[in-house]
């Protein structure tokens, strides 16, 4: 009897995992004992972390996309169809086409989506860089601004100890913005104000979601003349007067509101009955070590859909994929999972348009900030332009 592994989602988590599973279970796949299928609602795979560069005029859309089929090993079946409902009892996924895809092991790798509509006025008046089209819209505004005020806000999920998308992104883009406006020669006439909410996971009144980095942010901003304010939890935005109001009672006018907006899981996950997350955000209750959905031995989750305290970013997927691959392979071969995720995340932060800083952390240790360097910037550039696609193929 063939063991069917169904991975829902063709982002970086699902793609890496599928390739690693195919490598690990190659013998069983050839013998027909195991089948690996990736189900995605699009034939394309986007390099999402580069959308923030799009906001600063870098990267064409065509440079950020590849055919998902070309990234998957040939042993993997790839189906373009949108998952619409999980039938957990029958071990089936209902898709938009009407077809049902059965599974013995299910991996949910559907990511998360920005939800600016969850804050009054934000969708109308705010901009963000977490998707291509909004990033292009922000790029047009940033290319035109001659004087005024750019206001940066960060919104966390309401679910306890769950971070916003890509923890370092607000800091990265604020520093990139400073460099970008200097290159344009308008920085002296454009004020940048960076704010952070009162509650950021387990910290209070900080400027970043980890304390060692938070401690160096004020000096970093003061060197560049970037203003900052703690304790600004975006409550609502008035699109007519261009004023952002905080839950703490403050208000800030803006010409451009560059937001890290609220996020949520995709609808099929939110409506699955598996989530217990606050505010209908849809994060799945995830075993911190095995990455199984709690209470479901044969359902795993990877990437942005977890309710873990680690960054919702590709650097998390990179370390979660081998754990899920090992655990599914071990479950098939030995009858139980064997690997444990230690919460490790690594990345090269883009701190300014040309400097970078490699970083890593896990459940127990925070990022130890180092001075950004040109070499770090080139490393990030190399990853953006080439190494990412090898990572997605499961080669690095």
């Amino acid at each position: 009897m063939t063991q069917r592994i169904l991975i829902v989602g063709g982002g970086v988590g699902g793609t890496m995992l599928a390739n690693q599973l195919a490598g690990k279970l190659f013998r069983e796949i050839v013998d027909g004992d195991v089948a690996v299928t990736v189900l995605s609602d699009t034939p394309d795979h986007f390099y999402k972390p580069a959308f923030m560069y799009v906001a600063f005029g870098a990267f064409f859309r065509e440079e950020l996309v590849r055919r998902e089929r070309s990234l998957l090993r040939p042993e993997i079946d790839f189906v373009v169809d949108a998952a619409e409902q999980f039938h957990l009892g029958r071990q089936e996924v209902q898709a938009r086409s009407g077809k049902r895809y059965g599974y013995d092991y299910l991996v949910i790798a559907t990511g998360c989506v920005p939800a600016p509509e969850r804050i009054e006025g934000l969708a109308e008046a705010g901009d963000h860089f977490y998707q291509y089209a909004p990033a292009r819209q922000l790029a047009e505004k940033l290319a035109r601004i001659e004087r005024g005020r750019i206001f940066v806000t960060v919104s966390f999920p309401k679910t306890h100890n769950v971070p916003h998308q890509c923890g370092i992104a607000p800091l990265e883009t604020t520093l990139m913005l400073d460099d970008y406006l200097r290159r344009r020669g308008v920085r002296e006439r454009v004020e940048i104000v960076y704010t952070y909410p009162t509650v950021s996971q387990l910290l209070r009144n900080c400027l970043f979601l980890q304390k060692p980095t938070c401690d160096v942010v004020p000096a970093l901003f003061e060197q560049r003349g970037i203003r900052y304010q703690r304790g600004f939890t975006l409550g609502r935005v008035d699109p007519d007067t261009c004023v952002a109001y905080s839950e703490e009672g403050a208000e800030q006018p803006f010409d451009i509101l560059m937001a890290t907006p609220p996020i949520r899981a995709v609808d099929v996950v939110r409506h699955s009955g598996l989530s217990e997350a606050a505010n209908d955000e849809g994060w799945l209750p995830t075993d911190h070590e095995t990455l199984q959905v709690r209470g479901h031995e044969r359902i795993y989750v990877i990437g942005d859909t977890v309710d873990l305290p680690v960054s919702k970013a590709g650097g998390s997927c990179h370390n979660q994929a081998p754990v899920v691959a090992d655990n599914i392979a071990a479950s098939i071969r030995l009858g139980h999972p064997v690997a444990a995720y230690d919460g490790k995340v690594q990345a090269v932060a883009q701190l300014g348009l040309s400097a970078g800083m490699p970083l890593w952390y896990d459940y127990r240790r925070d990022v130890q900030p180092m001075p950004p360097t040109k070499l770090g910037g080139l490393l990030r550039q190399g990853f953006n332009r080439g190494a990412y696609w090898a990572v997605a193929r499961g080669m690095l």
Binding site: V30, Q381, G382, W389
Partner: protein, 142 residues
């Protein structure tokens, strides 16, 4: 001096175990100049340290030479290489594994069926187009 264990830990040769027993416990503190200088002395005396300094200078020059455009081109070459390697090695690996499953060589009818398969025809077309483009690049007039 620490005593030599009578029984080596599993997997360690007796001389390795003896060396470990003689060694002081690992110091987690970073190496100081006083610790490093005796090890650098042979390089200095042999006039080989300057090679390392030259190497560092060369690396520093290369970092200065690198710019985003050069990184983009190098990354593109890397990605194209990875993509071709992934596609060809993956196809070969799977085809070889499936061929090994067949106890007997495929008969004429099986080969004919394989040749008529839509994916096989796509693969043949890809090969022929590749050859066509290679051939065109060899023509001096176009």
């Amino acid at each position: 001096m620490a005593s030599i264990p009578e029984v080596s830990p599993p997997g360690l040769a007796p001389h390795v175990a003896r060396h470990l027993a003689d060694s002081p416990p690992a110091d987690p503190a970073p190496a100081t100049w006083a610790e490093l200088s005796p090890r650098l002395a042979p390089l200095l005396l042999g006039e080989r340290l300057e090679n390392l300094v030259d190497l560092l200078a060369l690396v520093a020059d290369l970092v200065d030479f690198l710019d985003p455009a050069m990184i983009e081109k190098a990354s593109s070459v890397f990605e194209e290489g990875v993509a071709v390697h992934g596609a060809l090695s993956g196809a070969l690996r799977l085809a070889a594994a499936r061929t090994r499953l067949e106890a007997e060589p495929p008969g004429t009818r099986a080969l004919w069926a394989l040749a008529r398969d839509a994916d096989t025809r796509r693969g043949v077309a890809l090969l022929l187009r590749t050859l066509q483009i290679v051939g065109r690049s060899q023509c001096p007039e176009r």
